[in-house]
Symmetry: C2
Subunit: 241 residues, 2 copies
């Protein structure tokens, strides 16, 4: 739980509370890439902390096309909201191979009874997810293809930087152009063309599971990226303050 709520402006756990959360983990395990964690509509008895790797939450349409509604990086409590909700309205899968820690809901309940202030912290964590959903609504609703892809890359860069997995311009992103398409609601063909354009314009290169941002300022301008919604404490190096 070292990365959980790292560098955020909402209440984050103390060292002791991190210890309590770690103690509540019932098991840690590795899942392969493209594995299914849970399905829309099924009841949930534990929640999952993502320790290493990347996961998505998504909703299928009638033809089976996915709309990704959340992208998760290490330190994210992927389905914490499943604890109060009981049932999820979406499915969860891995993108890359992942290491996850499982926390049974019974343990969470015990924890919250023992330490009431932890409740506020977990609440805050789920609200960051909601804020991110709003950032994504803005992305889909108000940006063109280039803007959407730039926005996703800028967001991911900032989030990974907050947990020490990006230096502010370069990071590992083991996803396909098809994944990017399902995130940004474009076809993979169009994603490909936009990526080429970003590359040719020396804004950003995405290749072989690596993102290299050449001009962060321009990238974030294209994306109209305002990181307010990420509630990150130190917005060092971020373009639009």
């Amino acid at each position: 739980m070292d990365l959980f709520l790292r560098d955020r402006t909402v209440a984050s756990p103390t060292v002791e509370q991190r210890g309590l959360l770690n103690a509540a983990v019932s098991e840690q395990r590795i899942l392969p890439a493209r594995a299914h964690l849970s399905d829309r509509g099924e009841p949930l008895w534990q929640s999952t902390m993502l320790v290493e790797g990347f996961m998505i939450r998504y909703i299928d349409d009638l033809e089976g096309c996915r709309q990704v509604v959340a992208f998760h990086v290490p330190g994210d409590f992927v389905d914490l909201h499943g604890y109060p909700l009981g049932i999820l309205d979406h499915s969860i899968s891995t993108l890359s191979q992942v290491l996850i820690a499982t926390v049974p809901h019974t343990s969470l309940s015990r924890l919250l009874e023992a330490d009431a202030s932890l409740g506020r912290i977990l609440w805050g964590a789920t609200l960051l997810d909601a804020a991110m959903h709003r950032g994504w609504l803005f992305r889909l609703g108000r940006l063109n293809a280039e803007g959407r892809i730039a926005h996703f890359l800028a967001e991911t860069n900032s989030r990974l930087q907050a947990v020490g997995l990006s230096d502010g311009s370069t990071f590992s992103l083991p996803i396909t152009q098809m994944d990017l398409a399902e995130i940004t609601s474009l076809t993979s063909i169009h994603v490909n063309r936009v990526l080429r354009s970003l590359r040719e314009n020396r804004v950003c290169v995405f290749r072989r599971s690596r993102v290299e941002i050449l001009d962060r300022d321009r990238l974030e301008r294209i994306a109209q990226f305002d990181p307010t919604y990420l509630y990150i404490a130190s917005s060092v190096g971020s373009g639009n303050p």
Copy 2:
């Protein structure tokens, strides 16, 4: 607070707890249509319960075009998430004239100290908002213009029905086609054409601030509307269970 979390599957307040929440209200007041409640980025010291009327939460792009990220109906705790977050990442306005009840955050803190189970209830309420955001991401990402508008109308019908403001086919919706455009990320011109088509196909009529659903089943099919994400207890009359 009579309508708060009415008919939902998440934990909802007992009669006594509703009393406590009502007692925490510092003032009730009326705001006119098209009034500003709060602005993105400003700190928040109280939260707002919507008693009557309709409100939106939105994010502006650089040209000042709004993307609406949430639509609120009576019984909604519009900015409850502002309590743990402290600062909001979006703005809030009224659409119609509204009656609102204001709850200071200090009162909320006192309430939560006195009654820990209330924490879970308020947490659940904010998670319903997040689930709605996901429904909206699906709408923007996977539906065409007709589907998006149908989806919004189907959702609003279900939500209003849960609080007794729709009979399942007819309800008052005092918003303009421009508002609908900002919700669905379309131009108001295109909204107009789609509404005509829905009307001519005898699916649904939206006119003079009234929605009349002629064929709920078809409307919800067009919208690929699956009300799972609303977590409504009795999904009576709803097309896709």
